[in-house]
Amino acid sequence: MAKGPVQKALAILAALIVWQAAAELVGIDFLLASPLQVAARLATIWRESGFWSTVAFSMSRIVGGFMTAFILGIVLALLAGRFPLVETFLWPYVVTIRSVPVASFIIISLIWLTGRQLAVFISFLMVFPMIYANVLQGIKSADGRLLEMTALYRVPWTRRLLYVYAPNVQPYLTSACSVALGTAWKAGVAAEVIGVVDGSIGEKLYESKIYFMTADLLAWTVIIVLISVLFEKLFLFLMKKAFAGMEKL
């Protein structure tokens, strides 16, 4: 694994050279656009009318689905940690969501929901089990001796949550969010492509495929990855700050 920034930059450069060579070898733009063509497209795509509204459309829905799953996952995991019956009753739902292929959910959702709601629901479905399971795991692995101490001193549950459970849950939640944020974008955009959702990034990808605009397809893909990574970094930074701020409560 590349570790240092110089090694990583060299690895990326090498990959781009391989991609450029492959594109030249294929020699047909619509089969494989070169990195230079994609870079050229990226330089102009953001200036086109509707670019920002398309990004805002998909982002609001995917982030909306993620945030709903994030909040509900934490709340239900807390409840399940406190009342084992909640965990038992949630178990079939969590297992089903985890094992059913995302494509099946997308097709079913197309029957139930409008295109505009699709990415919200699919992102939610993909993220919820990850957040729920990880937070619950963090709660269950809380130090029993600390819990015994807080019980003896009759510490209210809210303070127990902050002092005993939260520090324990933090690494589990951080790692879950790190994976879930990427998954939310992948599943959300996939849902938009399959549902050909009007005004979404998924629709742009679909159009690129229909009209063999491979440079556009790859340019939009780069945009999705960039937004996803930037949002992940921002979200994890804010979450770290929030956990650090708990001391002051």
Binding site: R145, M149, T150, L152, R154, R159, Y163, P167, E247
Partner: protein, 193 residues
């Protein structure tokens, strides 16, 4: 406040008897030091008084509603400051300034802004003591509370406990006769059942 009475206490773990009819009176408002060889049930006695362990037989009466305990392990929230660890149990009943003053009295005044995780074993021990004392319970249980402290800090901590628990019932488990003598009060020797 009434005396604490343990009558005919029976307790065994995995078939091994720790108490086989222990009867003991702990006078209210006084200090009682419990001594005895390892495995004789000193910690079990404190756990029974705290309600953390249920005896298999016998009766315990006179235990007040609120009990403070310095466990053998520090049982602190490592990521949080010493002041926060104390206020976890006291809530807003004790001000931040009062907690800081108590920690200062225990020689921790310079370390108030550091998380407990960065503390030495002896410092953590003193935070656990401050937490138990400031909780303000009528019964304070000390399970080898001075273990790991050097002589100077041991005296400092014992003086702090003596100064702030006047009129309260203190039960202290220790191996050290000097500690028991310094704390004063009655000494109870537990033998093997």
């Amino acid at each position: 406040m009434t005396d604490i009475r343990l009558e005919g206490i029976v307790k065994s773990f995995d078939g091994r008897a720790v108490f086989d009819g222990l009867t003991l009176t702990i006078p209210a408002g006084e200090t009682t030091c419990v001594m005895g060889p390892s495995g004789c049930g000193k910690t079990t006695l404190l756990n029974i008084l705290a309600g953390l362990v249920k005896p298999d037989g016998g009766a315990v009466t006179g235990v007040p509603e609120r009990v403070a305990f310095v466990f053998q392990e520090d049982r602190l929230c490592e990521a949080f400051l010493a002041v926060s660890n104390v206020r976890l149990v006291t809530g807003k009943r004790v001000s931040r300034e009062a907690v800081a003053a108590a920690l200062g009295e225990l020689g921790l005044g310079e370390s108030l802004d550091q998380p407990v995780a960065s503390f030495s074993g002896g410092m953590k021990r003193r935070v656990a003591v401050a937490r138990a004392v400031l909780y303000g319970a009528e019964l304070l249980l000390l399970d080898e509370a001075f273990k790991g402290l050097d002589e100077e800090r041991k005296r400092l901590t014992m003086d702090y406990i003596k100064a702030h628990t006047a009129g309260k019932t203190v039960v202290c488990v220790t191996h050290d006769p000097e500690e028991a003598a310094y704390l004063g009060g009655r000494i109870v020797e537990l033998g093997t059942p």
